[in-house]
Structure formats: C-alpha cells, structure tokens
Amino acid sequence: MISTFTNTDANSPLAAELAQRMANRKMAKEGRTIIFRIKRCDGPGKPSRWEDFKVPVPKNANVISCLQYIAANPVTAQGQQSTPVVWDSGCLEEVCGACTMVINGKVRQSCSCLIDDYAPGEGDVMTLEPMSKFPVIRDLWVDRERVFHNLKRVKAWVPIDGTYYLGGGPKESPQKQETRYKLSECMSCGCCLEACPQFNLEENKNEWDSAFIGAHAISQARLFNEHETGKQLKDDRLDVLMGPGGVNDCGNAQNCVKVCPKHIPLTESIAAIGRAVTVRAFTRFFKD
C-alpha cells in the first residue's frame, strides 16, 4: 500500500533546491561572515521587528550554533546592543521537532540546517522567522500545543491501560510493520502544518476542535488504525476525521509531503483515511 516517497524527480523544485544546496556546500568559503536577518518579537501579542546580526561562520556551522553565537554577542549589525534571540530546541539531531522555524522562507529544523548549504559567500543573508501557524512566545519560539491537541482529537495512541494483565497482543504482519514504521517516524514538528494553506493560525482554543486537524494527525490516525491493538479505536478516530476540521478539509495542495523532514508519505495517509471514512460513512448509513 505504501510507497517510498522520493524527491528525486529531476524536474521537481525539491530536486532543484537540493542540488542548489549541494552546489553551495562545495563553494562555501572558510572564515566568512554572514548576516542573520531575524524576525523578533518580545512576547505574545507584541509587535514583530527585524534585526540583523553579523556572525562569523566556522566550518560545519548550523543555525543553532550561530544562534548560540548571537546569544553570546547580542549586538546588531548596526552595532546596537540587543538581547539574545530566543529559540526552542531539544535533541539537536532532527528527531524532536522543537527547533522548527522558517529559514529563508521555508519551514525546517534549524539544528539540521547547515550554513554552508544556504549562505556560502561572504555577507550572504539568511532569514529566520518563527512558524506563522502557531502563537509566538518569544522571537523564534512558538507554542506548538495545538499539534498535540490535534493528536488527542484522533486518539493517537494504543489503548492498553487496564487493571489486569491483558496478555500478549495480536500478531503484526511484516508488511504492515513496514508501512507503520515510516508513519511512526513523525516527530510532531509542525512543518506539514506550517506549509499547509488549509491549516492557519488559530489563537482561540475553542476553535481548535473544528479547525483543520492537519496532515500529521491524519497520518497518526492511520498509523494507529493499522495497528492490531490500536484499531480498537478505529471508528472513534474516523468519526472525528469525518467531522468539521477532519480529512475533508484537506485541499490537496500537497505541500505537507514536500516539507516533511522525515519524508513521511502524508498525502498517501490522507488518501488512505479518505478511503476509510468513505467506507465508514457507508457503514454508518446502511449497517450500524
């Protein structure tokens, strides 16, 4: 059912982006200084502003190491004293999703973003912005609570809690395991949501349950629906995904699958859930 998603189509913009990065990496100059143009915000509801910082780039620097340099030297390119730029981070190896931000206009993790790929020359500019689909806490740090709220909406877990030993679980076939393994790599970073034209900033929490749930939650619903024990909650998940903000709100722009750092086949998950809710609707109408 699942196919390995490839970005290697020679004509795809992703392939062009990748080729550009590889070319940049080869021609990156050692000992250069580059400019970081950072969108800053002092707190929730406060206005945003842009600040430039000059950063000397050592070999193999990434965005995080440059942000650490700015934190130690919070002086703008114009020589004005500023404050350290705030950002969120955790694992520093692209598995936790915390350091996700918009770099040069596109969303990705800042820890795995190498400066050589983006700014190979002296004085090159890199822009950093917080994700726009989540409320800003400060500077590049956003509140991703809605990502996890939406996982709760589809009960993205395996129900095994109980008061007694339930015994061994049912057998999993290797084929299904292979399908689910790829889906299980989701780190809830929010890239798919940031790039999605149907998922937009919603600060009012009361609206969260009727606003679009996002590709990540749809894909996680599929992951747990495919799990032999997790499928006990299959109908609960599908009923939510049939309703307001569910899978029908997807507009098939398919940006999610292109920006997913884990190359999770999100659009296949959306279609698979689309099929499952079609079947569920007929079942509900004619059988249940």
């Binding site: 722009a253 659009t267 279609a271």
Partner: protein, 302 residues
Amino acid sequence: MSTPETPAPTSSSPGFMEKNYFLLRRLHSLTGIVPIGVFLIAHLTTNSSLLWGKWGLRSEGADETIISGGVHYFWKEVQWINNQIPHLLLIEIVLWVSIAFHSILGVYYARTGKANTARYAYQSNWRYSLQRITGYIAIFYIFYHVATLRWGWEFLIPGDAKWSADYAASTLAAALRGSNTDFTAMGVVTSLFYFVGITASVYHFANGLWTAAITWGLTVSAPAQRRWGYVCAMVGVGLMGMAWMSLAGALITPPNEMREVEQRLLDKQKVKLPPQPGTIESRAEESLPMTTVSNQGVSSGQ
C-alpha cells in the same frame, strides 16, 4: 447501557453545517462530477461541432464547407436537445441547483484556506490555488452565460442579440461579437471573458477530477495519484481543445453568414411533408415546436 451523568447540552450545539459536515463535503465533491462535469463534457461536445460538424453530417455534409457544415450539424444538435430530450426543464433545474450548491459551498470552503504559493511554489500548490481562482471565475462566467443565453437577460449582452434555439449559432455569435457583422469593442471584451471562463471551467473540472479521487480514497499511493493525474491531464487537454474549438467556431464566422445556413435549414424543414402517422419519425416530430409551425404551414386546411 445508560449513562447516569449526561452532560447538559452546551449552548453551542452543532448547527446544520456541522451535523451534516461529511455529507455536504462529499455532495460538493460528487456534484462537481455528476451532474456538472458530465454535462460539461456533453455541452462541449455539442458546441465544438461548430468546427467538426461537417464530418458529423457524413454524406449529408458532402456539399457543405467546414463552416456551413458545422453550423448545419450544430443546428441539428440544438434542435434535438431543445425539442427531443424528455423533461429538459427538469434536467436544467437539476443542473442549475447543482451548480448553485457547488458554488456556494465551494466559496465557503475556499475561504477556509490561505494561499501560500509565494513561499511554497510547488506545482501541486499552484494547482490548489488555481482550483480556487478558477472556481471563482467559473461562478461568474457560468452565471453570465446561463443568464444571458438561457434566461434571456439580454440587457447583459452587448448589442441586441437574443438567443434562440432556431438560430442557435448565429445568435450565440452575435452575443459574442456584439453585432451581426463585425466585432464591437464590448464584443471583444465578451469574447475574451468567454475564453477565460471556459478555460477556467475546464481546468477546474480536470483538476477537480484528480482531487476527488484522493478525497474519496480511490487513489491512495503516490504512484496511483500520479497515474490518475496523467489521466486527468489528458481529459483536461481534450476538453480544453473542445472548449477552444467551440469558441473559435462561434467567433470565426460572422453571425449573418451563419443565419443564412440556419434559414436554409428552417425553410427546408417547412416545406418537408408531414410524416406518415405511426412512424418513429412522426412521433419524434410531434414534440417539435418547430415542426408544429411547419405542419400548420403545410396542412393549413385542417
């Protein structure tokens, strides 16, 4: 099993849209294909016959030019549609209601999104934005098209053309040109609007066919979506060709020249003897208002 503590109904109980969310979403998807999409195919097939009709006439069209054969065949098709198709008005009402439903919900759904092609200039993202833009254009275009040529809102037509089934090609051409002979300035504007309108409508249908397959879960894997994408692209290219042929057919010939062909056919129909009772032809002709006129003409002694 009863639940002793049922929570009191909250003040914000779900409304009609929320309760029937899935049904409305899927009806929106379905109406785009049946009946609207199916009608689009039939409609463009008929209208493009203005260019290929000579060959549709077979031996009857042997003496005709491409232009007169096209007008001839198109005239026959329109006569058939308007006089032979059973409960035509019912079919039309189903279409109008479907288009209105698809349009209103489409605008409502489109407003939930925020285009971001500037940042994510992927082809699929452009298709997403175009689907919404062409939808808006198609609403305006189809409304204008139906209102002027079917509902008789002639005050919206440049010039004084009034569409009629007996002079279908010439009155259509006059409505596009703004006069019975040469293009007027407003006629050029109308023709350009038609070009944009039909192009948008065909794109909207072809791309909608592709997304509907994902919505319903017909195409699941990425290769399946790609394969179906090729099919939809071919459908789109074919329909686009037919749409542009239709418009070209209506624009290249002056209305007065078309009218000559139509008048010849109408005159020929008038002198045709009433068919023998009981034949298939006679039953078909009975429902023809046109031939009622001709019958009166021929058998005026009744």
